[in-house]
C-alpha cells in the first residue's frame, strides 16, 4: 500500500489532516476494505494503549451495526442541513448585506425612543403630571438663602405642602412678568403684575422678609402668610 496514503490515514485518524485531503480520503476509506481494516487496527492500538479493560478488541460490533443499517434506507440530508456543518461556528442565517440595514433600523428605533422620552420629560409635561418638587425646593432654598441668617439656614426644612403646590418657581414667574412687561401695554402690565401679586399673596411661599420657612408648617391654608 502507498506509504503516503497510510500516512494520511494515520493523520486523519487523529483529526490532523487538512480538510481538503480529508474529503478525498473519506471517500476512499468508505469504499476500500483494506483501508478500513487498517483503520480498525489503528483503533485497536489506541484502545490497547489506553488500557481500556473489559473492552473486547475482537468484537465484531462494526459488522453487527453494518448489518443492522444495511436494511435501512440511506440517510439523505437536504442542502440546508448540510450547509451549517461546513461552517460550524456560523449560526446566523441573515445575509451579510442585510447586516448594515439592521444597524440603521436599530439606530432609528433608539432615536425615536429618545425623542419620546425627551418629550415626556419636558417642562410642560412636568406641569401636567404635577411632578415632585426637587426644583421648587432648590428655588426656595435660593430665595431663603438671600434673606435668612446662617442660624436660620441650619434649621431650614422645605415645607412639604409648599413644595407640593408650587409648580413654576416664583422667581422664574416674576422674571417672566418683568420681561413681559417691557413689551406689553401699561394696562396689561398693571393687570399682570396685579394678578401675580394676588397669586403670590394667596400662597405660603411668597418671597418676603418674613417667609422664613417653618418646620411646623404643614398646610398652606393654615399658614399665616
Amino acid at each position: 500500500m502507498n506509504e503516503e496514503l497510510d500516512s494520511q490515514l494515520s493523520a486523519m485518524f487523529d483529526d490532523e489532516l487538512p480538510a481538503a485531503e480529508c474529503e478525498l480520503l473519506a471517500r476512499r476509506l468508505s469504499r476500500d476494505e483494506e483501508l478500513k481494516a487498517r483503520w480498525s487496527r489503528y483503533a485497536a492500538i489506541g484502545a490497547t494503549i489506553r488500557a481500556e479493560g473489559g473492552v473486547r478488541l475482537n468484537a465484531n460490533l462494526a459488522v453487527r451495526v453494518n448489518n443492522a443499517i444495511s436494511a435501512e434506507p440511506a440517510v439523505a440530508v437536504s442542502q440546508a442541513v448540510v450547509e451549517p456543518v461546513r461552517e460550524p461556528t456560523r449560526r446566523a442565517t441573515t445575509p451579510r448585506w442585510l447586516m448594515p440595514l439592521g444597524g440603521v433600523a436599530l439606530a432609528a428605533s433608539v432615536a425615536a425612543a429618545a425623542i419620546l422620552v425627551l418629550r415626556y420629560e419636558s417642562p410642560m409635561s412636568q406641569v401636567a403630571e404635577q411632578s415632585p418638587p426637587p426644583v421648587t425646593a432648590t428655588a426656595s432654598t435660593t430665595l431663603v438663602a438671600k434673606n435668612a441668617t446662617p442660624a436660620a439656614l441650619d434649621s431650614y426644612t422645605v415645607p412639604k405642602t409648599l413644595a407640593r403646590r408650587s409648580i413654576v418657581p416664583s422667581t422664574q414667574l416674576a422674571n417672566y412678568v418683568v420681561a413681559h412687561s417691557e413689551f406689553s401695554s401699561p394696562v396689561n402690565r398693571r393687570n399682570l403684575l396685579s394678578a401675580f401679586m394676588a397669586s403670590e399673596s394667596g400662597t405660603a411661599g411668597a418671597p418676603s422678609g418674613s417667609d422664613e420657612p417653618n418646620e411646623d408648617v404643614t398646610d398652606d391654608a393654615k399658614s399665616p402668610h
Binding site: D6, S7, S10, A11, M12, F13, D14, D15, E16, L17, P18, A19, C22, L25, A26, R27, L29, S30, K36, A37, W39, S40, R41, Y42, A43, A44, I45, G46, A47, T48, I49, R50, E52, G54, V55, R56, L57, N58, A59, N60, L61, A62, V63, R64, V65, N66, A68, I69, S70, A74, V75, A76, V77, V81, V82, P84, V85, R86, P88, R91
Partner: protein, 204 residues
Amino acid sequence: MSADVSDLSLVRRVQGGDKGAFDALVRKYQHKLVKLVMRYVRNPAEAEDIAQEAFIKAYRALPQFRGDSAFYTWLYRIAINTAKNAVVSRDRSPIEYNIDRSSDAAEESYDMQGRMKDSETPEGLVLTDEIRRTVNAAIEALPEDLKTAIVLRELDGLSYEDIAAAMDCPVGTVRSRIFRAREAIDRRLREVFEGGLGRTEDLG
C-alpha cells in the same frame, strides 16, 4: 487544524447516502463507546448491545446532526441516554429465576435481573489477550521518540502541535513519528491474525 474535520468529512458522506463512511466512524469509536457504556453495565456483551443500539440511533438521527458540536460529543450523548434507558428498562423488568439450576450455579451465571452473563468464549479471550500482548510488546520495542509520540497522542490525547512543543520538533516530524509507530505496531498485529489466531475482520 480545525478539530473534528475528519469526522465531519465522514459525516457529510453519510448524510449524502454513503453507508460505508458510517462504518468507518463505527470502527473508530466502537471501543470508546463500549468502554463508556460499561460505566452503566458491567457485562461487556450487554455493553456491546447498547453500543450497537446507540450507533443505530445515531445513524438514524444523523440527518439532524448539524455539526455544532463534535461528532463524538454528539454520539457520546446518544450512548449515555441509551445506556440509562437500558438500565431503567432492565430494572423495571421482572426478576427471573431458573429453577433448573442450583442456587450456587445461578449466582454465578445470573445477575440480579436474571439475565445470563454472556461470558466471552475462550477463543475470544485468548485473541483479545493476544492483541493486547502484541501491541504492548510492539510499543516496548519502538524507538524512544516513536514511543513517546504515539503515547502522547493515544494516551494523553495531545494534538500534533502540542506533541511538537513537548518533543521540541516540527509538527511534520510528529506526524511522521506517529505514523511510523502505528505501522510498526500494525505489522506485528497483522502477523498475529495471519498466524491463525483470528481474522483481521474480527477487529471491525
